[in-house]
Subunit: 127 residues, 2 copies
Amino acid sequence: MAFVETLTITDVASGLSDRRTGLLRLMGLAREDRVTDLAITYKDRLTRFGFGYLEQFFTGYGVRIHIVDGQEDKKSLQQELVDDLISIVTSFSGKLYGLRSHGKARELVSAVKGVVSDAGELPDQGS
Amino acid sequence: MAFVETLTITDVASGLSDRRTGLLRLMGLAREDRVTDLAITYKDRLTRFGFGYLEQFFTGYGVRIHIVDGQEDKKSLQQELVDDLISIVTSFSGKLYGLRSHGKARELVSAVKGVVSDAGELPDQGS
C-alpha cells in the first residue's frame, strides 16, 4: 500500500476507554470523509472491547481498516492486559457490591491481583 | 414521546458481544435512515463496553438514543454482571497465560468465582 497523505494519531490511554481524544478525532475525520484507510498498530490498543462497533462505524464512512499487530513490545502488551483486567474487576466490583460492601469489592480485586501479580514473570508468548 | 411506528428488537446474548443479530439489524436500519429514535431498556444490555462508540455510530445517522433503565429485575441484572465478569476473566486469562499455563488461567478464574459465587445473596441495590 502507498498513501498520498498520512496522519499519525496516538492516544495515551487504555483501550478500555471509549472517549479517547485521538479516537474521537479520528471518528470525526471519518465522518467528514477525510480518511480512506486506517492502519492500527495493535487491535487491542484501538479498543479492548467493541471492535465490531468501530468496524461498523468506519466502514459506514467507507474507511478500510488494516490491522498491523506487530510482534514487538509483548511485555508491555501483557502489562496492559493485566492493568485493564484489574480496572474491569474494580469497576465490576463496585457495581456488584456497591457502597454497602467495600470489603467484598476489595476481596474480589485482591483475589485477582494475587493471581496476576507475577505478570512480570509471564512467559514470552511472542512465538 | 409518541412514535408513529415502533419496532421492538430483542437479543438473547450478553452485552459483551458486539456481533449480536438484533444489534446488527438495528445498525443496518440506522444506516438506511429508517430509525429516528432508539429506546434502550438497560444500557448495559445494549453493550457492556463501548457505549460511546454506539453513540457515535447512531448520532452519525441522526438517531437519538433514549435510555429507560428500569428498576425491576435487579437480581438478573446482577447475575448478568457476574456472568459477564467471569467471561471476561476467562478470556483475559487465556490471553495472559495462553496454552502454556492452563493451571494459572484456571487459578485466576476460580479466584474470581470463589469471591462472586455468593451472588445469589447480594444485597438488593434497587434503592
